[in-house]
């Protein structure tokens, strides 16, 4: 086990994949000599040459489309979109081709490719650099969607994604790039692809989170513990496929659930989780599944992002509303809109 930052863990995963499989190619904007704006591809061009890791012209549909052609031709492209909002120009390529080619051709063609997308906020970035865009991808059938919350998961999920026979959208919570954690390179500790992880056990309520929100959940659980509440924290790790069994057994046990998501709430991943949980755990639930999310607003300027982002306090406010007492507390819904 080595202590690596998430960016370093991702870099190690790319390096090991490039070493082990010569079909792997890394490309995108500024991923070559610069090593990417977050240095995730640092040193790869130097080690593997321009043929294996290279800068493309500045066009995201081009990057994705090129990857589609290369994957059809037998390669395994791992491409980078520089920031969340800069993947939008590639949306047609992703939704109409990447997601569908296997299906369209009845499995005669497949697209083993990974699209890495640094996403979400919390780093004081200016507009268009902080979008939480995961819901667009999870709603598109044919895409697997993954997001690590630890350096160890970053390494292994990326290795898994590159080895996967299907296209994987690999969402990297950019504010975690610099967070260090023990990484089991060479000696896997991380859970398998498609499995959620229970990061903390508890009997009173379940917090379901992923990516940048996992640390918020853990922090909330820490604080709640001081008040004698034992919160279980589930990290989804992969959103598609979704690990129903881990989530459902946790909620059936605790009887209460709060879902945390940094993205704007409306029709986000949190909505799906809440809908699934109540479908599957209805008779175990003592209170509605509550969601803690960003507001339904464009990502705000840096000076206001802390007001927008779900933090442990907002999570704990929701936990407070989980009706541990006798009276249902629906005060937060008594507004004009309910």
């Amino acid at each position: 086990m080595t202590a690596l930052s998430m960016a370093q863990a991702l870099n190690a995963a790319l390096r090991d994949a490039l070493r082990e499989d010569e079909r792997v190619l890394v490309f995108g904007e500024d991923v070559g000599p610069l090593g990417g704006v977050f240095r995730v591809t640092d040193g790869l061009t130097k080690e593997f040459g321009e043929e294996r890791c290279f800068d493309t012209p500045l066009a995201e549909a081009g990057i994705v489309g090129l990857a589609v052609g290369l994957a059809m031709g037998g390669f395994r492209p791992v491409i980078e979109m520089q920031f969340d909002a800069f993947a939008y120009p590639a949306f047609e390529q992703i939704a109409s081709h990447v997601a569908k080619l296997r299906n369209r051709t009845r499995g005669r063609l497949s697209l083993p490719m990974v699209i890495r997308i640094p996403y979400a906020g919390g780093i004081g970035g200016v507009e268009h650099h902080c979008d939480s865009s995961e819901a667009y991808y999870v709603h598109t059938p044919g895409l697997k969607v993954v997001t690590p919350a630890t350096a160890d998961d970053a390494y292994w999920l990326l290795r898994d994604a590159i080895a996967d026979p299907d296209p994987v959208i690999f969402m990297e919570p950019k504010r975690l790039y610099w967070s260090k954690g023990e990484t089991s390179v060479g000696d896997r500790r991380a859970a398998g692809f498609g499995r959620a992880a229970v990061l903390r056990e508890g009997r009173d309520a379940t917090l379901v989170a992923y990516g940048p929100s996992v640390s918020v959940a853990l922090q909330a659980a820490d604080t709640a513990a001081q008040d004698g509440l034992a919160l279980e924290v589930v990290d989804l790790r992969t959103i598609v496929p979704f690990d129903d069994s881990t989530v459902v057994s946790s909620v059936r046990k605790t009887g209460r659930c709060v879902v945390i998501q940094e993205a704007q709430g409306f029709a986000g991943v949190g909505a799906e989780i809440a809908a699934r949980v109540q479908e599957r755990c209805f008779h175990s639930l003592a209170a509605p599944v509550l969601r803690v999310t960003g507001f339904d607003i464009p990502y705000p300027p840096p000076i206001l992002e802390h007001s927008h982002l779900p933090d442990a306090d907002r999570v704990l406010d929701a936990v407070d509303r989980l009706q541990f007492g006798d009276e249902p507390d629906l005060a937060h819904l008594s507004g004009e809109a309910s």
Binding site: G62, G65, G69, Q93, R106, V240
Partner: protein, 359 residues
Amino acid sequence: MSVDVLLPSPVPVRFVAEDGTAVQPPTGYQVPEEERLLEAYRRMVVGRRFDRQATALTKQGRLAVYPSSRGQEACQIAGVLALREDDWLFPTYRDSVALVSRGLDPVEVLTLLRGGWHCGYDPAATRVAPQCTPLATQTIHAVGMADALRRKNESGVVMAFIGDGGTSEGDFHEALNYAAVLHAPVVFFVQNNKYAISVPLAKQSAAPALAYKGIGYGIRSEQVDGNDLVAVLSVLTAAVEHARTGGGPFLVEAHTYRMDPHTNADDAGRYRDKREVEQWEAADPLARLETYLHGRGVLDTAAVESAHEAAEEFAARVRTEMNADPKVDPFELFEHVFAEATPQLREQRALLASELEDR
């Protein structure tokens, strides 16, 4: 890079006039060998017959929709003849004639338009990408495939078909640029048939010709009379050779005309004049080639007849085979989403199974 070498000929390259007589041959291009021209002729006859058959099948409800390429046969056939078997083709929905001419099974080609599955043939085995509907998106895939061939040291090249309308999409721009920067062995073949559904070329572009787009990427370009098979085949052959021998990408624009409506469902009377269509009848590529070959004394009545017989046979086979109802197992819905179905898809499959049992 010299600027002049990148610019297309100021007028479309042409070998044969509308009346079938040879014109002063353009410099830099070869007349294809007679045997290739005869082969092209036979394929054009079959292709046109197939096209007519497909349109007829829409009327009988055997095809949901068919975009005809009548009038564009010189392009369809030359595009295919210019390629080797180990080359890749990236076609659009309009290029079914090219596909059957490449030897693909006609029923498999028509599977998309019949509603049986999105792509009926095996792209890997045929080296033909699925016919592409989202306009211009396939041109980038073609560049990726060309780069893949180069990386694998294969000598194949890639040809991407696209329409005049499709050139307006951003993806076409990105494809041309990527091809040039990667020096990819790919030929972009624009069939400028003057319309994008109802929108005429004049509302699509103000360029002197679409071929003038090449220079802006550093790509060699040419424009050609798209109804002159001899010219299209000659130019495409040169373009393919250029790409195959390491010269990088090539852009060819063929000026042609879509004789039929956009598809059988379209009402072309709403946006174009019958007289315009009639004028283009005079430029018919098949009649032109026939007259030309007759004139050169290499095509006799027997050869014409045997071409038409082959065409009739082919059409009959298509008719028969398309008369059977396509059958697809509903559970295939869940089979090709991922290599292995997710738990969620297995659950949904079970739901469908219970629905089908109940009914």
